[in-house]
Symmetry: C2
Subunit: 422 residues, 2 copies
Amino acid sequence: MNRSADEALRARALKVIPNGMYGHESTRLLPALYPQFFSKAEGAYIWDADGNRYLDFMCAYGPSLLGYRDERVEAAARAQTALGDTLTGPSPLLVDLAETLVEMVDHADWAIFCKNGTDATTMAMSVARAQTGRKVVLLAAGAYHGAAPWCTPIPAGVVPEDRAHLRYYTYNDVESLEKAVTEAGDDLAAIFASPFKHDAFIDQELPDPAYARRARELCDAAGAKLIVDEVRAGFRLARGSSWTSLGVQPDLSAWGKCFANGHPISALLGNDSCRDGAGQIYATGSFWLSAVPMAAAIETLRIIRETDYLEHTVHLGNRWREGLDAAAARHGYALRQSGPVQMPQILFAEDPDFRTGYAWGEEMLKRGVYVHPWHNMFLCAAMTDADIDFALEAAEAAFAALKARQPSLEPHPVLVAMFGAH
Amino acid sequence: MNRSADEALRARALKVIPNGMYGHESTRLLPALYPQFFSKAEGAYIWDADGNRYLDFMCAYGPSLLGYRDERVEAAARAQTALGDTLTGPSPLLVDLAETLVEMVDHADWAIFCKNGTDATTMAMSVARAQTGRKVVLLAAGAYHGAAPWCTPIPAGVVPEDRAHLRYYTYNDVESLEKAVTEAGDDLAAIFASPFKHDAFIDQELPDPAYARRARELCDAAGAKLIVDEVRAGFRLARGSSWTSLGVQPDLSAWGKCFANGHPISALLGNDSCRDGAGQIYATGSFWLSAVPMAAAIETLRIIRETDYLEHTVHLGNRWREGLDAAAARHGYALRQSGPVQMPQILFAEDPDFRTGYAWGEEMLKRGVYVHPWHNMFLCAAMTDADIDFALEAAEAAFAALKARQPSLEPHPVLVAMFGAH
């Protein structure tokens, strides 16, 4: 594998970007072989700066739902680009898009559009507080809701007061949720929940329906607001609210990543019980009303409604999960595959310091498949059965290569520093 | 003026968007005649949803620096769109863009890119705190630094702790700044400053060089960081840091709005004294590394370096300011024009409840010129001398029409509610 362009870029980046890269797409916590820079993408594939091609199971960490550069979405974006993007006011598409989402998402009576997922989760918190006149917000411990001072998982540069009224419960644990609600007393503004537990580095958990229903009941009893953070999972589990299948409707939901298939837009949706609070807060951004991402979103949402994108990714995800388990077993490995098949987390059993998962990731990468050793992955609708065949062939060879390397594997030094020695 | 499409859109929006619109582009605080929705833009002009055309002195509240849909920038964006936008990692353009800004902005040794101006100002605060290990941040009272809980100008939905370690001083007032620094004691992390005072509803103030230099000295003496918030004014006063002309270099600067001519990207720039702190914080977003806005930024910055865009807007701004003063005087009005001519604030003398300014705005709008009655405006490089001639002709007629309406003017009811009766 040629790596020279990536290495040259990393050397330049180190001079003009802190640590050479920042945020969730930094490769600092990935195996050394993983490329940092990508030059091109099409459908289910990405090309790194050296021209190596990969079947991409990260999908830009979520935004690519239909595949990169989906021509239907890009045509809609181009048509709007010819009219205008960031203007002195919103385009009529803003109303079309809000109506579309209100129609598609059961609980939603209104929408506010923004740019980052963090914008939407932060507004959800503010709307709940404005609406209820209360302060305490409950979060599942370890859940990711963005990177603002109140929620960033690495609290360098934040002050303790940024989390003054936040309290934590254990996801799927009704008792811990009830305890946190009791402790909040009459100051409970909101409960945050992810559609399923998709924390990094650990097994994923589907939501226990009893937990979801109890969260709703507790909010109703307390006059608090239930917030579902759909930023990562939205439209990957359902064509509307992810908890509709559980019979639970939130008051507020935060959306981002994929509903414009990679164009930058996120949204806060809410029901009428929060409309006054939403009308009180002031939140805005220079590019929040840009029209091109709205055109892309409207077309993406049409495709979501009218095609089998979801069933297709579930079909492929099942093949991928079953095929991987079988291939692993043939080479003496056991996998911990968790979460929805279309958003899989793939960890190795008996791999506490991730050394096996990291090495397997490298072997997959060498064979043209980009998998992640500790973050949930994403399938996109542009993937085909032939792509899964290709990925499973790569996996077969990667497990064999892994077996040969196993005795000499070492844990990744940054992980050791993070989690301590084993 | 036909308004039927805008009215129909407003009625629909009221159902699916809180208050029918949110944020700085809501027309709730503008004269009733102002359209909410815009369908098209080209160069210096925007068209509302009813097809009425306006010479746009708002430039999307800043993002349009060169004019809407500048073909040079759009060609660069299109070329990158054909390769990819939001991928699983950054494109090599990230490094090119960081190098470009480090080259152009004197104090900058590194860059972090994001989406909202608020992302950049919030990171600036976090980096200063991470770097210094201190908490107190000083802000000029009334200055706008974004819409997150720590800085939103309308604090509905925020809690007092969101501003726990923020202290306020008076812009351009050395004594008040020194007092605030003294009170911060050994816990001073940073001083925020705008390049000039561009608060809404009041006259703008250019920076007193003594204030800027004293802010630098106080930071140096205290080991704190000086942060200049260039989001609104960046690249409209200079081809680099706005305070270079005062001989003052900040440690950190936040940029947004116009450096990709309307494509969504913002940036935090910093010097080496803050590199460690910047490397410690975790801040990220799904679309922060998207490549198309970076391609647009690189081309916009090339145009900034290689053309007379700045001198051109200063020339037009001087003509606009002088011509307006003369026209106003001919009709018995006196204007309070403040700030840089290319970012003018235009208020009326003896107009405490803005009734005169609002009516003049309406008369300008009727004549095809979009001005703002209380927010600073922006000129763009696509404007021509002929456009200024057109705007001044409109102004002449608007002052005459205003004179006729003057006895019957009433203040805007929302402003009365905000500021109290007069």
